[in-house]
Amino acid sequence: MPEPLIAFTRSIMSKLALLLCILQSIFVYAADYPELWLEPARSAAQLGIATFTQSPFLEEQNLPPVAERLPDNPPVILPLDDIGTYGGTAYIIADDIPMFFSHEGLVTIAPDLKTILPNLAESFSYSDDGRELTLRLRAGLKWSDGHPLTAEDFLFTVNELQLNTEFLPVTFRDFVGVELRALDELTLVFSFENPNPFFVNYMAQSPDLFMLPKHYFQDFHPNYTDREVIGERMEEMGFSNWSAFIFTSMQQRRFPDLVNQPTMRAYKAESLTPGLFTYKRNPYYFKIDPAGQQLPYIDTIEAQDIRDNAVATGQASTGQLDFSGVRMQTSEIPLLKLGERNSGIKVSIWNRIHGSDLSIQANLNYADEKKRKLFEDVRFRRALSIAIDRDEMNEIIYFGRGTPRQVTVLPNSDYFEPEFASAYTQYDPAAANALLDEMGLIDVNEDGFREFADGSQLTFALEFVETETPKQVSMELVTSYWNAVGVDIRMRIIDRNLQYARAIAGEFEMTLWHADRTTDILFPINPDFWVPRKLAASLAHWSEWSRWYLTGGELGEEPPPNIRQLQAWADEMSTSMDPARRVQLGKQILAANAENVWTIGTIGMAPHPVVTSARLKNVVDTGFWGWDIRWTMPYHPATWYLAQ
């Protein structure tokens, strides 16, 4: 076929495909994103796309033709607004890398915050008893070095790493009782000890834990390579053993060896220098657009490693960054909006996924008996909660655009009831004073602060990490509200590493974190803020009860019956195959939390600024921002492009 004809056919075909997509979306368009994003991506064959094009960037790189690099029947992703054009370098800061190109897993998350969609897998299905999950991989998927992605890679990662006690002495909770086998090169079967209906959620949210390129890492794995050879390699790279090396590879963004490691993501590390991480498009990336163009659109990403927030904000507000989200702060929206008028950037206001920006926790397992008695008293927690003027906080910190609420799931969750969010949020200092008086906490020496019933001094230390949400400024307000009802609180900002160590050791008197896991993606499988089943930096108020649960009663402290009930409900919720039963259990858990105020919430679903440059297109105007959905995963960052 002569060249012009090919081009003509291609353009006709792509226009047809586009038309089809658009027609579909017009009829069902409801939210700020195409309704199609809620369904499994159509394949090229379904849409009749037979010719594929690639970025000019990839030409003359001695690569196989694009059709051979793509899978046999690539998934087609509908861009938000229009079909993009290839090329360009996107400038971001390193912290936004996970937001600018998502992890690619077997399955992925839809923007409704509920639905799990196939991704690398072409389909997945559960057995009726929920004990078997079968996934079928797309045929012809390839790692960024051209090596095929097969069931082998998953078997290697799950069976020889995650379930290998040399690699992980203690298996991750969500992998306990999991077995993986392959029926053939493309069919994977996970089987579970108990019904595990939400394992797909976990797979979608943490895809990086399931797949490492076997052909690369087998050179570092003792099952495949002589230990002495590995030892020499480790010596050279400075690692003490092979598991430290692979563990680092899985977690470290700055790890220089990433340049050598194959990936399935849209971009691959090209160079990691002290100040700048450069990523280039993955020539074997598996998704295409409706015009048959291989995604992503953008060729290069240059991510500066910026620590200081002033620099990050300065760059974002003056249009020097194409995308910026993770370092943007609610308080800086006016500045960014000013940048919008002066520098032509676009400031989209998303909503943070956090049920509450703060989850204030008093340690119910605290070693000091007197304070522990206080913390255990529900009147104390309720008093602290209603002593907070959330409306004023909302005005002062959130421009009145957040939602005063307790730590609970988002309104669109199946498990939500309005009173879970509103319980004990009405500002009532008089009632708070009455509750505290009733407990016998009286200001004996008239210094303005209450003392213990026996007259001894009563102050609380509240230590926390300033990260993600506006915690310090919130706590300055909360401190003043609590001081107003006679509670003397001393806050101190600490480093993140200390937060973790002290949280799991139960050493905090009081601390706080931000409350995510509020969507139907993570809540049903990990209701961590509401049930003591996990040790984490974010959960410092009942670590001993969690430890008891995790070690089967060997360590920690046996929880009281109502807490054990909670744990039982949670266990049942994540294993029940009956959706109605699950919702019932989930609501019971949340109702108990609303009643007992085990952690105190402030403002949730807060406005979060996301800054894009004038030339970056196809980014949604509003969305949910947070961990549950890996920030941008449902919004298809691979379809973002730079307008010329």
């Binding site: 002033a310 300065g314 308080s331 006016p334 004023e392 002062i396 400024v473 401190t479 001393r490």
Partner: protein, 368 residues
């Protein structure tokens, strides 16, 4: 000419100091600042943590004598402000409402406080009627609606005292170690010399950081304050010790010391009665020049988030809260504590210059 005879060395020094106009001015400024710091509860119209939810990030207010019609009022006043949050820009816009006028009242009632933590009172130097809707924020307000003027004053108390306290400690260490090293010589001198050398070879920042991070979490703000002061002075004494040692070495051989020793005075007496007084002026000067280093050190620690922390109000803490891009562009009045730091540091330097010239018995009085 003969009047010169009657001048004591102190009077001569004062004459020389007075000639230093800038130093005089600097001294005056510092006296005012320290008065501010001492009487901050009274001078400030609000307490440092008092919030005004109707004035968040409000710019400095104009204090007026002339109203909108150009009419003069003997009593200064401020206009009321209307707050409007712009839906598009998300900005809090403040508009003067010339129909509401709030007179400034002096020695009037306001937020109750305890003067020096002892005397409970509610009198402030100036306020607007606390019963009314009005408020006065001369330096504007911060992101929580707290009065910057009050906060700067309360911050002065911490920052200025940290300078003096820290230098006091530095002097104590420097003079003690340097003095004994210079006077005794030998092994002791050698040890001090080596310690000095070691401390001077390590970048101070990591030392500060590690020590600050090691301060126990449970410490009260006051204890942390003293901890930080000690950390700051722990590494400042080396320079002073070197100078003192040098002086002692030179002086040890001088006639009056030799004479004292021959008479049989013991070492301590010789050091404290004879040698120390002879360079007190030098020490005072060095101390004056060291105060600003302490104040800047506190700021640097606060910048790194390992110095003093809220709710303690110091200039460093205030500036740390202002160290972002938004402040420079949109709320520059939050940088005012920085201006006070700059003025204080300059003033101490000029004062130190003046004192040095005054204290130097050889400095020339001739006019040029």
């Amino acid at each position: 000419m003969s009047e010169l005879n009657e001048l004591t060395p102190g009077q001569l020094a004062w004459l020389r100091f007075r000639r230093h106009k800038l130093a005089m001015v600097a001294g005056g400024v510092l006296i005012i600042f320290y008065l501010f710091a001492i009487f901050c509860e009274f001078i400030s119209p609000y307490t440092p943590d008092q919030r005004n939810a109707r004035a968040i990030n409000a710019p400095p207010m104009d204090i007026r004598f002339f109203d909108a019609d150009g009419q003069f009022h003997p009593r200064p006043f401020v206009y009321g402000w209307e707050l409007n949050i712009n839906e598009d820009t998300w900005m809090r816009e403040y508009q003067e409402d010339t129909s509401t006028r709030y007179d400034i009242q002096f020695f009037s009632r306001g937020e109750p406080y305890e003067f020096w933590g002892l005397i409970p009172t509610e009198r402030h130097l100036f306020t607007v009627d606390s019963e009314s809707e009005g408020y006065i924020h001369w330096f504007g307000t911060d992101s929580l609606g707290r009065d910057m003027f009050s906060r700067v004053l309360y911050g002065a108390r911490v920052s200025l005292s940290i300078g003096i306290l820290g230098v006091g400690l530095t002097l104590f260490l420097g003079v003690l170690l340097g003095g004994f090293a210079g006077y005794l010589g030998g092994v002791f001198d050698n040890v001090v010399q080596r310690i000095t050398e070691v401390l001077q070879s390590i970048p101070t920042l990591p030392l500060w950081m590690a020590l600050s991070a090691a301060l126990p979490a449970a410490w009260s703000p006051l204890a942390t304050y003293f901890g930080i002061t000690i950390i700051l002075s722990l590494f400042g004494w080396t320079t002073l010790a070197r100078q003192v040692r040098g002086r002692f070495l030179a002086m040890r051989e001088e006639d009056f010391v030799v004479a004292a020793r021959l008479v049989g005075a013991n070492d301590r007496r010789i050091i404290f009665r004879h040698m120390l007084p002879s360079f007190v002026s030098h020490i005072i000067t060095t101390a004056t020049l060291a105060v600003p280093a302490m104040i800047l050190g506190e700021t640097a620690l606060s910048f790194l988030g390992i110095g003093l922390r809220a709710p303690v109000v110091s200039w460093g803490v205030l500036l740390q809260q202002a160290q972002n891009y938004q402040v420079i562009v949109m709320t520059p009045w939050l940088l005012l504590p920085g201006a006070f730091i700059v003025i204080t540091v300059i003033a101490f330097n000029l004062l130190g210059d003046g004192l040095r010239d005054a204290a130097d018995p050889y400095s020339s009085l001739s006019k040029t």
